[in-house]
């Protein structure tokens, strides 16, 4: 019965693993719901800011700011939003692949790049592949606050202001639905004018307090920060969704494995009984 015992131990260990993956699946499901809610909660702010900038663009046709001006591109900045933990399927590697393709394209166009990383998975990856990492933040948790990202974002915006980078992009996973997460790269700076919704025509201007330039730059910085924050929150929703799916697959695989092992175990048990019986019968016959 030695073989049977071994198989039984194996079934036990697979069952334990299955318990863990099942628990992780359920935890991920509830965290995903919360992350989606958080994403929705941050939407009014971004929408309001966009409409204020839209009003501003309407009211003042010559309104302009370094964040809105196109300039010849010699060097770009890329923010890569990743997760802190693994076990979430191909979420991070798909994103990194997309980012690498874009980096290669820039390299082909003789455009240099600076990289800014969110999450320890990106940190580990880009440390290995190399590249000029200029800003990093990780361990922001499941419920990040904007405050945790401010310094990180400022590094990149300062680089743009001082002319070290001419464009700023952000790569993150877009939450399509629970089963699908789409890696995307979007341009943050310069802010495309099409991005700013143009409401009805009107011919008034704001009173500015303090000067217009100052208010505008505060507004644009907050707009960019809100954009990054939303990307981070969305990426967290993606992480949880991907983890849920991955853990569900793992639980199913474990169940299959247990069924198979159970069958082998039964066979081994029966073989042992048959052998014992035939030994007894043979023994009796000999007497």
């Amino acid at each position: 019965m030695a073989a049977a015992k071994e198989i039984r131990t194996k079934i036990g260990s697979v069952q334990n693993t299955q318990k863990i993956t099942k628990a992780m699946e359920m935890v991920a499901a509830s965290k995903m719901r919360k992350a989606i809610e958080r994403g929705l909660a941050s939407r009014p702010y971004a929408n309001k800011i966009r409409s204020v900038i839209g009003n501003l663009a309407q009211a003042n046709s010559e309104f302009s700011h370094p964040f809105m001006e196109e300039r010849p591109v010699k060097r770009v900045g890329v923010i890569v939003v990743s997760t802190d933990r693994g076990l979430c399927g191909g979420l991070n590697s798909n994103l990194f692949k997309t980012v690498l393709t874009q980096l290669k394209k820039w390299q082909g166009d003789d455009v240099e790049f600076d990289i800014a990383l969110i999450g320890s998975k990106a940190t580990g990856y880009f440390k290995r592949v190399g590249g000029n990492i200029v800003s990093e933040v990780s361990h922001i948790g499941d419920a990040p606050s904007l405050e945790q990202l401010l310094g990180f974002i400022k590094v990149m915006l300062d680089r743009h202001e001082s002319g070290q980078i001419d464009e700023l992009h952000i790569g993150y996973n877009e939450f399509v639905n629970t089963m699908t997460q789409q890696p995307v790269i979007e341009q943050l700076v310069p802010i495309s004018r099409g991005e700013i919704e143009r409401s009805a025509n009107h011919h008034w201007d704001y009173l500015y307090e303090p000067a217009g330039e100052e208010v505008l730059s505060a507004l644009l910085v907050r707009y960019l920060e809100a954009f990054v924050y939303q990307a981070v929150v969305e990426n967290i929703a993606c992480e949880q969704a991907a983890r849920m799916v991955a853990m569900k697959a793992a639980s199913d695989n474990a169940a299959d494995l247990i069924d198979e092992l159970q069958l082998i175990y039964n066979k081994a048990r029966q073989a042992a009984i048959t052998q014992e019986l035939s030994e007894i019968v043979a023994g009796a016959a000999a007497v």
Binding site: K48, V52, K154, Y206, A226
Partner: protein, 137 residues
Amino acid sequence: MQINIVSAEQEIFSGVAEMFFAPSADGDIGVYAGHTPLLSTLRPGEVRVKLADGDDEAFYISGGLLEVQPDAVTVLSDTAVRAHDLDEAAAIEARERAEKLMQGREADIDYASAQAEFAEAIAQLATIQRLRKRGGR
């Protein structure tokens, strides 16, 4: 007059009000319906909304932006206190982490800080246990 107070993380208030007060950059202001369009930065302080039924609702904000339209007021509230040197310090921190990363020494440092935290936690636990014993619990 429609009032919306939003922060990057959540919607704080949305509703109809009679009057609105806020600490604008150049001094406290009160807004009635029909105000000239105004765009202003806000200082940290109290934003007050006087509802139609005469009740007041107050919110503390740590700065942000205010947009006034004749029929609507929008407050884009900051979630954190923003000061130039505070932001600067956070930025320097993010940059330094990146630099450390580039030197490839992050793992060691993480380990050291984890160990320090662990030692601290153990010390705290020991203190709690000692206190409990003394308290006879």
